[in-house]
Amino acid sequence: MYGWIWRHLPGPRPVRLVEAFVLVAAIIALLMFVVFPWAEPLLPFNNVTTPS
Protein backbone atom coordinates (compact mmCIF):
# COMPACT_ATOMS: atom_id res chain seq x y z
CA MET A 1 0.00 0.00 0.00
CA TYR A 2 2.63 2.49 1.07
CA GLY A 3 4.95 1.26 -1.71
CA TRP A 4 2.16 1.56 -4.25
CA ILE A 5 1.44 5.14 -3.17
CA TRP A 6 5.13 6.02 -3.29
CA ARG A 7 5.47 4.63 -6.83
CA HIS A 8 2.43 6.61 -8.01
CA LEU A 9 3.57 9.95 -6.63
CA PRO A 10 4.75 12.05 -9.56
CA GLY A 11 8.07 13.86 -9.77
CA PRO A 12 11.62 13.29 -8.57
CA ARG A 13 12.42 12.12 -5.06
CA PRO A 14 12.50 15.50 -3.23
CA VAL A 15 9.14 16.45 -4.76
CA ARG A 16 7.73 13.06 -3.79
CA LEU A 17 8.91 13.56 -0.22
CA VAL A 18 7.01 16.84 -0.02
CA GLU A 19 3.94 15.23 -1.60
CA ALA A 20 4.06 12.33 0.85
CA PHE A 21 4.32 14.76 3.76
CA VAL A 22 1.34 16.78 2.53
CA LEU A 23 -0.63 13.55 2.06
CA VAL A 24 0.08 12.41 5.62
CA ALA A 25 -0.83 15.83 7.02
CA ALA A 26 -4.08 15.84 5.03
CA ILE A 27 -5.05 12.39 6.32
CA ILE A 28 -4.29 13.38 9.93
CA ALA A 29 -6.37 16.55 9.53
CA LEU A 30 -9.23 14.52 8.03
CA LEU A 31 -9.12 12.12 10.98
CA MET A 32 -8.85 14.82 13.63
CA PHE A 33 -11.51 17.18 12.34
CA VAL A 34 -13.98 14.93 10.53
CA VAL A 35 -13.69 11.24 11.36
CA PHE A 36 -12.92 11.35 15.09
CA PRO A 37 -15.54 13.98 16.00
CA TRP A 38 -18.06 11.84 14.13
CA ALA A 39 -16.96 8.54 15.65
CA GLU A 40 -16.46 9.70 19.20
CA PRO A 41 -20.10 9.83 20.36
CA LEU A 42 -20.54 6.28 19.05
CA LEU A 43 -17.76 4.95 21.28
CA PRO A 44 -18.24 4.01 24.93
CA PHE A 45 -15.70 6.35 26.53
CA ASN A 46 -17.19 9.63 27.40
CA ASN A 47 -20.77 9.39 28.58
CA VAL A 48 -20.99 11.29 31.82
CA THR A 49 -24.70 11.78 32.35
CA THR A 50 -27.50 9.81 33.90
CA PRO A 51 -31.01 10.08 32.47
CA SER A 52 -32.90 12.99 33.97
Binding site: M32, F45, N46, T49, T50, S52
Partner: protein, 309 residues
Protein backbone atom coordinates in the same frame (compact mmCIF):
# COMPACT_ATOMS: atom_id res chain seq x y z
CA UNK B 1 53.32 20.42 12.22
CA UNK B 2 50.90 21.26 9.45
CA UNK B 3 53.06 19.63 6.81
CA UNK B 4 53.33 16.40 8.78
CA UNK B 5 49.58 16.16 9.23
CA UNK B 6 48.87 16.54 5.54
CA UNK B 7 51.35 13.84 4.85
CA UNK B 8 49.75 11.39 7.23
CA UNK B 9 46.09 11.89 6.40
CA UNK B 10 46.19 11.06 2.67
CA UNK B 11 48.07 7.87 3.43
CA UNK B 12 45.37 6.59 5.82
CA UNK B 13 42.50 7.48 3.49
CA UNK B 14 44.31 5.77 0.65
CA UNK B 15 44.71 2.63 2.75
CA UNK B 16 41.01 2.38 3.43
CA UNK B 17 39.98 2.92 -0.13
CA UNK B 18 42.41 0.26 -1.17
CA UNK B 19 41.16 -2.41 1.21
CA UNK B 20 37.46 -1.80 1.72
CA UNK B 21 35.65 -1.20 -1.57
CA UNK B 22 36.81 -4.31 -3.34
CA UNK B 23 34.94 -7.07 -1.48
CA UNK B 24 31.64 -5.12 -1.37
CA UNK B 25 30.57 -5.33 -5.00
CA UNK B 26 31.23 -9.07 -4.91
CA UNK B 27 28.86 -9.74 -1.97
CA UNK B 28 26.14 -7.57 -3.48
CA UNK B 29 26.40 -9.37 -6.76
CA UNK B 30 26.14 -12.72 -5.04
CA UNK B 31 23.04 -11.76 -3.02
CA UNK B 32 20.95 -10.18 -5.73
CA UNK B 33 20.07 -13.32 -7.70
CA UNK B 34 19.04 -15.19 -4.53
CA UNK B 35 16.18 -12.69 -3.89
CA UNK B 36 12.74 -14.28 -4.45
CA UNK B 37 10.50 -12.98 -7.23
CA UNK B 38 9.68 -9.39 -6.39
CA UNK B 39 5.91 -9.55 -5.98
CA UNK B 40 4.25 -12.91 -5.65
CA UNK B 41 0.56 -12.91 -4.63
CA UNK B 42 1.33 -14.25 -1.15
CA UNK B 43 4.00 -11.64 -0.55
CA UNK B 44 1.62 -8.96 -1.72
CA UNK B 45 -1.19 -10.13 0.55
CA UNK B 46 1.03 -10.51 3.60
CA UNK B 47 2.54 -7.09 3.04
CA UNK B 48 -0.86 -5.46 2.54
CA UNK B 49 -2.14 -7.10 5.73
CA UNK B 50 0.88 -5.96 7.71
CA UNK B 51 0.61 -2.42 6.43
CA UNK B 52 -3.09 -2.33 7.28
CA UNK B 53 -2.34 -3.46 10.82
CA UNK B 54 0.34 -0.79 11.23
CA UNK B 55 -2.05 1.81 9.84
CA UNK B 56 -4.83 0.74 12.19
CA UNK B 57 -2.45 1.01 15.13
CA UNK B 58 -1.41 4.50 14.09
CA UNK B 59 -5.04 5.58 13.68
CA UNK B 60 -5.87 4.33 17.18
CA UNK B 61 -2.87 6.15 18.63
CA UNK B 62 -4.01 9.31 16.85
CA UNK B 63 -7.49 8.84 18.31
CA UNK B 64 -6.03 8.77 21.81
CA UNK B 65 -4.15 11.98 21.06
CA UNK B 66 -7.39 13.49 19.76
CA UNK B 67 -9.44 12.37 22.74
CA UNK B 68 -6.99 13.46 25.42
CA UNK B 69 -5.36 16.57 23.94
CA UNK B 70 -7.12 17.92 20.84
CA UNK B 71 -10.60 17.93 22.42
CA UNK B 72 -9.09 19.83 25.36
CA UNK B 73 -7.90 22.55 23.01
CA UNK B 74 -11.25 22.80 21.23
CA UNK B 75 -13.16 22.85 24.52
CA UNK B 76 -10.84 25.43 26.07
CA UNK B 77 -11.76 27.81 23.25
CA UNK B 78 -15.48 27.17 23.68
CA UNK B 79 -15.26 27.52 27.48
CA UNK B 80 -13.48 30.86 27.08
CA UNK B 81 -16.18 32.08 24.72
CA UNK B 82 -18.93 31.02 27.11
CA UNK B 83 -17.17 32.71 30.04
CA UNK B 84 -16.69 35.93 28.10
CA UNK B 85 -20.36 35.94 27.13
CA UNK B 86 -21.37 35.35 30.76
CA UNK B 87 -19.08 38.09 32.06
CA UNK B 88 -20.52 40.53 29.51
CA UNK B 89 -24.04 39.58 30.50
CA UNK B 90 -23.27 40.08 34.20
CA UNK B 91 -21.55 43.37 33.57
CA UNK B 92 -24.46 44.72 31.57
CA UNK B 93 -27.15 43.93 34.08
CA UNK B 94 -27.44 45.18 37.61
CA UNK B 95 -25.47 42.85 39.89
CA UNK B 96 -26.85 44.13 43.17
CA UNK B 97 -28.38 41.25 45.12
CA UNK B 98 -32.15 41.30 44.86
CA UNK B 99 -34.18 42.00 47.94
CA UNK B 100 -36.70 39.38 47.00
CA UNK B 101 -34.98 35.97 47.15
CA UNK B 102 -37.48 34.55 44.65
CA UNK B 103 -35.87 36.65 41.98
CA UNK B 104 -32.76 34.60 42.29
CA UNK B 105 -34.49 31.81 40.43
CA UNK B 106 -35.13 33.96 37.41
CA UNK B 107 -32.04 33.20 35.40
CA UNK B 108 -32.08 33.45 31.69
CA UNK B 109 -31.53 29.79 31.02
CA UNK B 110 -30.69 29.27 27.39
CA UNK B 111 -29.40 25.83 26.43
CA UNK B 112 -25.72 25.94 25.60
CA UNK B 113 -25.24 29.31 27.33
CA UNK B 114 -23.33 29.67 30.59
CA UNK B 115 -25.30 30.94 33.58
CA UNK B 116 -23.00 30.30 36.57
CA UNK B 117 -19.38 29.57 37.45
CA UNK B 118 -18.04 26.85 39.67
CA UNK B 119 -14.86 26.75 41.74
CA UNK B 120 -13.38 23.86 43.67
CA UNK B 121 -10.73 25.44 45.91
CA UNK B 122 -9.03 22.12 46.76
CA UNK B 123 -8.34 21.59 43.06
CA UNK B 124 -6.32 24.81 43.03
CA UNK B 125 -7.02 28.52 42.62
CA UNK B 126 -7.19 28.18 38.84
CA UNK B 127 -9.94 25.57 38.91
CA UNK B 128 -12.81 27.54 37.46
CA UNK B 129 -15.48 26.52 34.97
CA UNK B 130 -18.54 28.20 33.55
CA UNK B 131 -21.57 25.94 33.84
CA UNK B 132 -23.77 25.81 30.76
CA UNK B 133 -27.42 24.84 30.57
CA UNK B 134 -28.00 21.37 29.11
CA UNK B 135 -26.18 18.06 29.14
CA UNK B 136 -26.00 16.91 25.51
CA UNK B 137 -22.60 16.16 24.00
CA UNK B 138 -22.62 19.58 22.38
CA UNK B 139 -23.24 21.36 25.67
CA UNK B 140 -20.72 19.31 27.65
CA UNK B 141 -18.04 20.17 25.10
CA UNK B 142 -18.25 23.74 26.39
CA UNK B 143 -17.99 22.85 30.07
CA UNK B 144 -19.91 21.29 32.94
CA UNK B 145 -23.60 21.11 32.05
CA UNK B 146 -26.64 21.68 34.24
CA UNK B 147 -29.31 19.00 33.92
CA UNK B 148 -32.32 20.79 32.47
CA UNK B 149 -35.15 20.95 34.98
CA UNK B 150 -33.10 20.27 38.10
CA UNK B 151 -32.85 22.90 40.83
CA UNK B 152 -30.87 26.10 40.45
CA UNK B 153 -27.87 27.00 42.61
CA UNK B 154 -28.87 27.76 46.18
CA UNK B 155 -32.44 26.52 45.84
CA UNK B 156 -33.96 23.51 47.60
CA UNK B 157 -33.84 20.39 45.49
CA UNK B 158 -30.90 19.04 43.54
CA UNK B 159 -28.67 21.29 41.46
CA UNK B 160 -27.23 18.59 39.19
CA UNK B 161 -24.24 19.10 36.93
CA UNK B 162 -22.52 16.67 34.55
CA UNK B 163 -18.96 17.02 33.32
CA UNK B 164 -16.33 15.16 31.32
CA UNK B 165 -13.63 13.25 33.09
CA UNK B 166 -11.34 12.69 30.09
CA UNK B 167 -10.70 15.23 27.35
CA UNK B 168 -13.00 18.14 26.45
CA UNK B 169 -11.45 20.20 29.22
CA UNK B 170 -12.04 17.32 31.67
CA UNK B 171 -13.65 19.51 34.35
CA UNK B 172 -14.41 16.49 36.56
CA UNK B 173 -11.09 14.71 35.99
CA UNK B 174 -10.30 14.55 39.72
CA UNK B 175 -13.83 14.21 41.05
CA UNK B 176 -12.81 10.98 42.80
CA UNK B 177 -10.23 12.94 44.82
CA UNK B 178 -12.83 15.22 46.35
CA UNK B 179 -13.35 14.31 50.00
CA UNK B 180 -16.17 15.12 52.39
CA UNK B 181 -16.50 18.76 53.50
CA UNK B 182 -14.50 20.01 50.50
CA UNK B 183 -16.13 23.17 49.19
CA UNK B 184 -17.70 23.60 45.77
CA UNK B 185 -18.33 27.30 45.26
CA UNK B 186 -20.89 28.38 42.68
CA UNK B 187 -21.03 31.97 41.51
CA UNK B 188 -24.30 33.17 40.08
CA UNK B 189 -25.20 36.60 38.81
CA UNK B 190 -26.23 37.72 42.29
CA UNK B 191 -24.80 35.26 44.80
CA UNK B 192 -21.91 33.13 45.96
CA UNK B 193 -23.30 29.73 46.87
CA UNK B 194 -21.12 27.32 48.84
CA UNK B 195 -21.79 23.59 48.81
CA UNK B 196 -19.75 21.03 50.74
CA UNK B 197 -19.44 17.37 49.94
CA UNK B 198 -21.49 15.12 52.22
CA UNK B 199 -19.91 12.38 54.35
CA UNK B 200 -19.27 9.20 52.43
CA UNK B 201 -21.03 6.00 53.40
CA UNK B 202 -18.04 4.77 55.40
CA UNK B 203 -17.64 8.04 57.27
CA UNK B 204 -21.28 8.36 58.35
CA UNK B 205 -21.08 6.00 61.34
CA UNK B 206 -18.32 7.81 63.22
CA UNK B 207 -19.08 11.26 61.89
CA UNK B 208 -19.72 13.23 65.09
CA UNK B 209 -16.64 11.78 66.81
CA UNK B 210 -14.47 11.95 63.72
CA UNK B 211 -14.42 14.34 60.83
CA UNK B 212 -17.17 16.60 62.16
CA UNK B 213 -14.54 18.25 64.37
CA UNK B 214 -12.80 19.67 61.30
CA UNK B 215 -13.82 23.35 61.04
CA UNK B 216 -14.62 22.80 57.34
CA UNK B 217 -17.34 20.36 58.42
CA UNK B 218 -19.16 22.76 60.76
CA UNK B 219 -22.35 22.65 58.71
CA UNK B 220 -21.98 19.20 57.20
CA UNK B 221 -23.59 16.13 58.72
CA UNK B 222 -25.10 12.91 57.40
CA UNK B 223 -28.52 13.73 55.97
CA UNK B 224 -30.22 10.58 57.11
CA UNK B 225 -32.68 10.84 59.95
CA UNK B 226 -31.01 9.39 63.03
CA UNK B 227 -34.29 8.16 64.49
CA UNK B 228 -35.17 6.31 61.34
CA UNK B 229 -31.91 5.82 59.41
CA UNK B 230 -33.16 3.31 56.84
CA UNK B 231 -36.45 4.85 55.85
CA UNK B 232 -35.90 8.58 55.91
CA UNK B 233 -36.02 10.42 52.59
CA UNK B 234 -32.28 11.09 52.56
CA UNK B 235 -31.28 7.61 53.80
CA UNK B 236 -29.28 6.90 50.67
CA UNK B 237 -27.79 10.32 50.01
CA UNK B 238 -24.08 10.10 50.77
CA UNK B 239 -21.09 12.10 49.61
CA UNK B 240 -19.86 9.77 46.92
CA UNK B 241 -21.38 6.84 45.10
CA UNK B 242 -20.79 4.80 42.00
CA UNK B 243 -23.91 3.85 40.09
CA UNK B 244 -24.92 2.31 36.78
CA UNK B 245 -25.56 4.68 33.87
CA UNK B 246 -29.32 4.06 34.09
CA UNK B 247 -29.69 5.27 37.69
CA UNK B 248 -31.22 8.66 36.98
CA UNK B 249 -32.54 8.85 40.54
CA UNK B 250 -29.19 10.26 41.71
CA UNK B 251 -30.17 13.62 40.23
CA UNK B 252 -33.77 13.66 41.36
CA UNK B 253 -34.66 16.35 43.95
CA UNK B 254 -34.24 13.79 46.74
CA UNK B 255 -31.74 11.23 45.43
CA UNK B 256 -32.90 7.60 45.50
CA UNK B 257 -36.21 8.55 47.07
CA UNK B 258 -39.34 7.39 45.37
CA UNK B 259 -41.83 9.18 47.62
CA UNK B 260 -42.84 12.80 47.41
CA UNK B 261 -41.18 15.29 49.69
CA UNK B 262 -42.61 18.84 49.82
CA UNK B 263 -40.19 21.42 48.44
CA UNK B 264 -40.08 23.13 51.82
CA UNK B 265 -38.57 20.01 53.38
CA UNK B 266 -36.07 19.44 50.63
CA UNK B 267 -32.42 20.07 51.31
CA UNK B 268 -30.47 22.20 48.84
CA UNK B 269 -28.11 19.71 47.25
CA UNK B 270 -25.59 19.86 44.46
CA UNK B 271 -24.84 16.68 42.52
CA UNK B 272 -21.91 16.18 40.17
CA UNK B 273 -21.91 13.29 37.69
CA UNK B 274 -19.11 11.97 35.51
CA UNK B 275 -18.00 8.70 33.93
CA UNK B 276 -16.40 5.90 35.88
CA UNK B 277 -13.89 4.32 35.70
CA UNK B 278 -11.87 6.88 33.78
CA UNK B 279 -11.84 6.16 30.00
CA UNK B 280 -14.98 4.05 30.34
CA UNK B 281 -18.72 4.58 30.46
CA UNK B 282 -19.55 1.41 32.38
CA UNK B 283 -20.57 3.32 35.50
CA UNK B 284 -21.08 6.85 36.80
CA UNK B 285 -19.23 8.54 39.60
CA UNK B 286 -21.61 10.69 41.63
CA UNK B 287 -20.74 13.31 44.24
CA UNK B 288 -23.43 14.87 46.42
CA UNK B 289 -22.83 18.13 48.27
CA UNK B 290 -25.02 20.15 50.59
CA UNK B 291 -25.57 23.89 50.73
CA UNK B 292 -23.75 25.40 53.67
CA UNK B 293 -23.43 29.08 52.90
CA UNK B 294 -24.67 31.78 50.60
CA UNK B 295 -23.35 35.32 50.24
CA UNK B 296 -24.79 38.14 48.18
CA UNK B 297 -22.25 39.37 45.67
CA UNK B 298 -20.62 42.67 46.43
CA UNK B 299 -17.84 44.56 44.66
CA UNK B 300 -14.46 43.37 45.90
CA UNK B 301 -15.93 40.56 48.02
CA UNK B 302 -14.73 36.99 47.61
CA UNK B 303 -16.03 34.18 49.79
CA UNK B 304 -13.39 32.93 52.25
CA UNK B 305 -14.07 29.35 51.12
CA UNK B 306 -12.24 30.10 47.88
CA UNK B 307 -8.95 30.21 49.78
CA UNK B 308 -9.29 26.71 51.26
CA UNK B 309 -6.70 24.16 50.33
Amino acid sequence: MVERATEVIPRIVYDHEDVLPKPEPETVKVRRPTLPPVDGPVRKAVRAFGELMITAGLVILLFVVYEVYITDLISAGKQDEATTALDDQWKDSNTVAPVDPQRQAQYDLIEGKAFAKMYVPVFGPDYKFSIVEGTTDKHLEVGPGHYVGTALPGNPGNFAVAGHRVGKGAPFNDLDLLSSCDAIVVETQTNWVVYRMLPTEGEEAGWTEGKAKNPKCAKVAPLKDKANPDNSAYAKTVGQEIVTPQQGEVISPVPHYSGELPAAQQVALMTLTTCHPRFSDKQRLIVHAVLTMSYPKAPGFLPPELKEQ
